[in-house]
Amino acid sequence: MTTYKALKGKKVKTLSSDPPAAASEGQVWYNSSGYDFKTSVSAEAWASGGDLVSGRRNPVTFGIQTAAVVAGGHTPGGDFSTSETYDGTSFAEGNNLLVAMDTSASAGTSTAGLVFGGNPGGLTETVSYNGTSYSEENNLTAARYALGGSGTQTAAIAAGGSPQTNTGSALSEEWNGTSWTEGNNLGTGRYKPAQTGTQTAALFVGGDTGPANVANVEEYNGTSWSEVNNYPSTLTFAASSGIQTDALVFMGDIGPGYGVKTFGYDGTSWSSRPDMATAGGNTEGCGTSSAALAASGGPASGRTSSSEEFTVAASVKVITDS
């Protein structure tokens, strides 16, 4: 019978207590107290996050998992302008948007954000956020709602959306910190997408062309959009996080009905990741591919005030033969 030393060239350490899981990932040791061989493995999962002060559909979400802003959206009383900040534990009410903004798009961080487009009535409205309050900025060139947005407060991109007609727009606009300039159009016009990334490397996923929901995915290189591998199903009103070459796309309407699925994108292909606990959609998502936040939004049967956090964490496991 071979031994670990014969295979790996070193003996298994004997330890009386387990080392920290995060520091021992991939290592094998013998725990002399519990008489077990152990290792530390890393795994991904969604866990519950803090509850919003006011649940809403179609808010914007920008920032990172531990420093995020959720603003605008829709409740049974109509579109509204409230904005909340999240510190990784709990949400708190902040200063309102300047006007009610529903189904808008956003970019940036919790201290340097940008919110643009949306409803009611199809908006060109653009506002910036400095971590405390919102300020009026120059408007989009074309009014539309359910558009995609990503980037930073000084270099954002707005793509797709619908000009209040339930048909998908192919328009793409770049924001330079002062004004919007029309760029090259999407290959397939649509609204209700998930969008993440930067102004020079954006990812636009799924959406609704008007006649139909689609699985198409396009990448932006700062100049033009190009079609890449499709998302595994048709998808609308999904959320996303990360960058073009390391993204997560989660929840959304997979037609019919809202889903819990999460898929990762590595710049080429899609791979399945752990499901969320609660189906939802109609929210943007923010963060990275290893620390994402999904806050409020659907499901279609109602608005929720709950949130979920995607994390990667290491934990110590006993090695068994089964």
Binding site: A45, A47, S48, D51, Y145, N282, P299, A300, S301, G302
Partner: protein
């Protein structure tokens, strides 16, 4: 042997279900309604850790039929609210643009 446990428990936010919980048992949440108040309905993997989680969450175990009835009640209310949410002179397309498509019915596993 049953694959799932069904129950109700109020989602209290951060820490209600953890990264570790999600790795230990299946968990799926649904919006429900008990006739008086909204209620969170959970479908939980039928293992020891899943059962302990429901108990720790001060949850109430339900049969599958009871859990489905709670979810359907919430769906019915959402569909009625959608039907009643009208604006004068608004087209069907404009309504969908304003508040989204009419909610459907959810079947729990």
């Amino acid at each position: 042997m049953a694959i799932f446990i069904y129950g109700t428990a109020t989602n209290t936010g951060k820490g209600f279900f953890t990264h570790e919980d999600r790795r230990n048992f299946f968990l799926r949440g649904y919006s429900g309604h008990d006739g008086s108040n909204p209620i969170d309905v959970w479908v939980i993997g039928a293992n020891e850790k899943g059962a302990l989680w429901l108990a720790d969450a001060s949850g109430t175990e339900k049969t599958k039929a009871e859990a489905q009835a709670l979810v359907k009640a919430a769906d019915d209310l959402a569909r009625t609210a959608w039907d009643d949410d009208d604006v004068d002179d608004e087209s069907a397309d404009e309504k969908v643009a304003r508040i989204g498509s009419k909610p459907g019915f959810i079947t729990i596993p």
